[in-house]
């Protein structure tokens, strides 16, 4: 049983940086005994993204337990309510969010990601004056926020938008060359996105800035979503082998299949992917073929000492095959909101615009060091700042993590950015 005392005792090791702060804000209200605060989450608990939906729920469950053990928010315990968004899309997600508000009167909704929504969630939040924090990782969040900041004042993206994958990759590649860690056979880069907005925005960001960084796009091949037969695409790549193959499709199982089908006839190409390789399924399915794959993510639990207790607690509670990298997102999101709500004097309720604006202002002011790194919102788009591409100060932005599968029997190793790196880049076995 998690108690306030045991939580506070373990907080330094647990990396729950907000525990002491929240307990301090709660003051004499040490026990979370007031009226429960409904916390909503519209997550894909079934359908193609169910694996991630379950992890998002796990992260929220952990955060709720810890926050309640620290006295809740000003003495009021949190009560989690999850609505299934199944195969996602604007209709299902907006209905799920509206149900959370209508049925439970949730003043806050913390989502993981929902795809194909065209950011309609922001309209639901704005229409009902609730705080909404999500991890869709979309530049369209920023664009929509900019259209009407007064209307979308309560909408936050807890991580940097996917756009920063583009310049982040190009910068990292050039760093590898300049530091002598890699000598590319040419300056060609092949881009393999899949047919969805997230993947294409990243590929386009690389394509549009490649020349500026000294790279030539030799192939831009969009594959269907999902895609597990890579034969025709690999045949095209082998016609003109590039120095870098950047696959911006993100499903871990498909990316693992890419490596399995690449391995029998490899090219002298560095392989970069994003997000998918951070999930256990990538290694589970790809086996030895994934050794050497480089990938990056703009959000994920850092493999550092600060986050160690979270990682071990998460695995202990939800199983060895669970993905703390995914659960950490909503975990941090709820923690940041809880602190902001306590600072603002309470969570408010739907249609209480005045209090919701106070909480939103508090969210904006609060620089929160969570298990994913720093979350500080960019006032231009109300998404987390991206370090180092968007902001040079590591203490003010969420790190764009570059990791590599160097040992398939162990966790991937962080190779950049410098201040977070745990090991140097390793030449992939098919290139050495």
């Amino acid at each position: 049983m998690l108690t306030r005392r045991s939580l506070l005792r373990g907080s330094a090791a647990a990396g729950a940086a907000g525990t002491a702060l929240l307990a301090g804000l709660n003051g004499a209200r040490a026990q979370a005994e007031g009226d429960p605060i409904p916390v909503g989450a519209a997550l894909p608990m079934s359908g193609i993204a169910a694996a991630d939906g379950i992890e998002f729920q796990n992260g929220l469950t952990m955060a709720v337990d810890e926050i309640n053990a620290a006295g809740g928010v000003l003495g009021r315990p949190l009560e989690l309510h999850v609505e299934d968004t199944a195969d996602m899309g604007a209709d299902l997600v907006s209905q799920a969010m509206q149900r959370l508000i209508d049925r439970y009167e949730a003043p806050v909704i913390i989502n993981g990601y929902n795809s194909g929504t065209n950011m309609v969630e922001m309209d639901v939040a704005a229409d009902n004056d609730v705080i909404f924090c999500h991890y869709n990782t979309m530049i369209s969040h920023n664009n929509k926020f900019k259209e009407d900041p007064e209307r979308y004042y309560g909408c936050f993206q807890g991580d940097p938008p996917e756009y920063y994958y583009g310049p982040g990759l190009l910068t990292y590649l050039n760093t590898l060359i300049e530091s002598g860690q890699w000598t590319p056979p040419n300056r060609k880069l092949a881009l393999i996105p899949s047919a969805n907005e997230y993947s294409i925005v990243i590929a386009n960001a690389v394509r549009d800035q490649a020349a500026e960084y000294g790279w030539e796009i030799s192939l831009y091949e969009t594959v269907q979503f999902p895609n597990n037969q890579w034969g025709p695409t690999l045949a095209k790549l082998r016609q003109d082998p590039p120095a870098v193959i950047a696959v911006t499709h993100f499903l871990p199982q498909d990316l693992a299949q890419f490596m399995v089908q690449f391995a029998p006839q490899p090219m002298n190409s560095l392989i970069y992917m994003q997000y998918g390789p951070s999930l256990p399924a990538f290694k589970e399915i790809g086996g030895d073929a994934v050794k050497g794959v480089l990938y990056s993510t703009v959000v994920g639990c850092l493999p550092d000492e600060f986050s160690e207790a979270f990682r071990s607690s998460y695995r202990e509670r939800f199983g060895e095959n669970s993905s703390y990298l995914t659960g950490s997102q909503t975990y941090d999101g709820l923690w940041k909101w809880a602190l902001a709500a306590a600072i603002a004097g309470g969570p408010g309720a739907p249609f209480d615009r005045e209090q919701a604006m106070k909480v939103a202002a508090s969210m904006n002011r609060l620089i929160y060091r969570g298990v994913n790194g720093i979350c500080r919102f960019d006032p231009e788009g109300q998404s987390a700042f991206c370090y180092p591409t968007q902001i040079a100060d590591a203490s003010l932005g969420m790190p764009h993590q570059f990791l590599q599968h160097q040992d398939v029997a162990a966790d991937p190793v962080m190779v950049a950015p410098g201040s977070y790196a745990k090991a140097p880049f390793m030449m992939p076995p098919w290139m050495s």
């Binding site: 379950i54 969009t222 597990n228 034969g231 690999l234 256990p280 399924a281 589970e284």
Partner: protein, 295 residues
């Protein structure tokens, strides 16, 4: 050039074998019962997960696990008949085709969510995995793809023999041709339907193992093969088994060639355009009868 041809053919033949196996199961039921089994995809997933459980949890050898997948699929098919289809056949009358389609959609959702509850959502690795490759000219052919095609072809040959050479197959064909005449000849039609659903379920089970070996184990793994199988069935003419197999291989190779020639994203749209063109040209499908009715 040879390596490109190899890559396209390997992809086309592998996909074709998987589509064909899924199509045979679907087509068999339609041809004999006029029933579109929307739970076929979920039964594929069930087969994949059963193999995983038998190997990883029970520690039994892979061949036993594959037989278990076939048995589980067959059992699921029989339960589908005894629990739902039999009642709908009795009470459905002319609305049977619609009601059974809706009922099996429900079964599919329930089965997928049951798998999600039991195994969780994280994709799992199918133990049926073979590493290594064979060199063909300048290209390579993964051993797994060769095994998939070989197993799929062997299963289809076995089904063909069963349908054309055995007493059970004769009863299935007789029931498909004319249910009333078969009844008058003493064919136990109810038992034939049970056998057909069991056979189709068994095929779904083995197909699920093969599909998940080249993709992954997730509760929704059968959705894509089910969609493609339905397309192949329609192109071939609903209920036509040899036509369905030919359509599956032909369209899969065309899809792979388009993916290479025009771009990977054009494979499926071109496939759909071809289907539309074929149905305009031959509304009953390439090899289809003019009218399909449940006997």
């Amino acid at each position: 050039m040879l390596d490109i041809l190899t890559a396209v053919l390997v992809t086309g033949l592998t996909n074709g074998a998987l589509y064909a196996l899924a199509t045979v199961g679907l087509s068999l039921i339609w041809g004999s019962m006029g029933m579109l089994n929307m739970a076929h995809g979920a039964m594929l997933a069930l087969g994949g997960y059963i193999t995983f459980t038998v190997v990883e949890t029970l520690g039994l050898p892979l061949p036993v696990a594959m037989l278990a997948a076939v048995a589980a699929g067959a059992l699921a098919g029989m339960l589908l008949y005894l629990g739902i289809v039999r009642s709908l056949l009795k009470s459905g009358g002319p609305g049977f085709e619609t009601s059974v389609m809706i009922a099996t959609v429900g079964i599919a959702i329930a089965l997928q969510n049951a798998l999600l509850l039991v195994y969780g959502g994280q994709p799992l690795r199918q133990p049926f995995a073979i590493s290594g490759a064979v060199g063909v000219g300048a290209g390579v052919v993964p051993l797994l793809n060769i095994v998939i095609v070989a197993v799929a072809v062997a299963v289809m040959v076995a089904v063909s023999v069963l349908i054309s050479r055995t007493r059970m197959g004769r009863a299935i064909r007789a029931t498909a041709q004319n249910r009333d005449a078969a009844l008058l000849m003493g064919v136990p039609v109810g038992r034939v339907y049970l056998q057909v659903l069991a056979l189709s379920g068994g095929l779904a089970g083995i197909c699920g193992v093969l599909v998940s070996s080249i993709t992954q184990l997730t509760p929704g793994l059968g959705a894509d093969p089910m969609l493609k199988a339905f397309i192949m069935c329609v192109v071939a003419g609903l209920g036509n088994l040899p036509g369905a197999i030919a359509a599956a291989f032909g369209l899969a190779i065309i899809e792979a060639a388009v993916q290479f020639g025009a771009g990977a994203r054009w494979g499926f749209p071109v496939l759909l355009l071809l289907v539309i063109a074929i149905l305009i040209w031959r509304p009953a499908g390439l090899f289809g009868r003019a009218q399909i009715r449940r006997m």
